[in-house]
Symmetry: C2
Subunit: 206 residues, 2 copies
DNA sequence: CTTTACAAACCAAGCGCTTGCTTGGTAACG
DNA sequence: CGTTACCAAGCAAGCGCTTGGTTTGTAAAG
């Protein structure tokens, strides 16, 4: 776990998407899937991107669906680990909330934005049995969020239903990939802080 | 305008998606595009849904792209008119904000949810020149929102940047189509009120 | 240092199928 | 009698994927 943390914080890349043939293929696929969508991306597109023939793709993955599946599994594993790291670093609910929001924004508009867009917007393109496998990992991810929000409720910092609030956060964060400019004047941290205030309101007793 | 309002409030349907052959075709296409995505929906699927042969589709629309375009134009026109109606009914910024949020939720999880999902999630599938045409209508739609949020800022009810807040609202609202249950315990109005509080905070001086 | 061995990575060609769309003609209706 | 709505059949292109064979990297054996 500590080793995984060190690896991630140094490289910033997803384990399994390194510079191996398979890794380069996944990176290219993730970017193409985000830009053009899964269905409009052909295996010939992916092959051209990494400089091989289209047939050679299937030396690394049995089907095109397996490529999508691999992209999704890698990114959800990586970002679940990032959430866990945030939890160990911030045990208290309120700082933890802000850390979780920062982590999720980092996922969506930062280092893993391409694969995250694929996970969110190309969901239907994945075969149904594979959807179940990803959903199982997603449940773990969401449990971390629910625990944090319930803890905030227990502290009286949150009035509304935790599940509803979690969904509002998901919406605000995932939509950010359509407009947030990483080189713009608004920083990721500033946006995270704005979102925190949408969740727990203004600080009134400080 | 008053006539359009009467038509909408009575039928609840989108003008141009009536029970004419063209209208039934658009309705079927909208639902299929939402359920399976534009690319995975074949013209044969649409034809089967309305009970005609696949070739007969092209008696009503020159290309498949035109079907998508028509769905998007109809839904954005319809919902812009709905925003306008909310504005005439609620001239004051704060009630207007809540009315706009209710209207947008109605668009996304209410009577036009299928076509709205298509507008949001199948955006890339539309040919680029058509995207520009839809964008022009979208700008009108967004101006209504910006005006309202800027008015709230002028009243001191909004601290953060109006554009950022608008985008957060868009995210919360559009994401609702993935989880909101129209027959569940949470009503559209209750959700609208929760979102209002995420925008302007708790009422502190009442 | 060379040879041998072998698996991983890749190429060139193309198969079978689905796709959006076309064509030429027919039935219903005002 | 023309317009609207449709059918039956099928074409050309693009798709995921297969196949049989060739190159490349690597590492132990001679």
């Amino acid at each position: 776990m500590a080793q995984a943390h060190a690896t991630r914080s140094v490289t910033g890349g997803i384990h399994g998407m390194d510079d191996s043939p398979r890794g380069k293929l996944l990176s290219a696929a993730a970017r193409l899937f985000r830009d053009k969508g899964f269905d409009r991306t052909t295996v010939r597109d992916i092959a051209r991107e990494v400089g091989i023939q289209s047939g050679s793709i299937f030396h690394h993955f049995p089907t095109k669906d397996d490529i999508l599946f691999a992209v999704m599994m890698e990114v959800i594993r990586f970002n679940t680990a990032r959430l866990r790291d945030a939890c160990t670093e911030y045990p208290e609910p309120l700082p933890r909330l802000e850390a979780l929001i920062r982590a999720e924004l980092q996922s969506i508009i930062g280092d893993t934005s391409e694969a995250m867009s694929v996970l969110v917007y190309e969901w239907r393109c994945l075969s149904e049995d594979r959807q179940q496998e990803v959903l199982a990992l997603r449940a773990v991810y969401e449990e971390i969020w629910t625990d944090c929000l319930e803890a905030l409720r227990a502290q009286g910092l949150l009035e509304d239903d935790a599940f509803v609030v979690r969904r509002l956060i998901t919406g605000m964060a995932s939509w950010a990939n359509t407009w947030f400019d990483q080189h713009g004047s608004l920083s990721l941290e500033a946006l995270a802080h704005i979102i925190v205030r949408r969740v727990i309101g203004e600080p009134r007793d400080r």
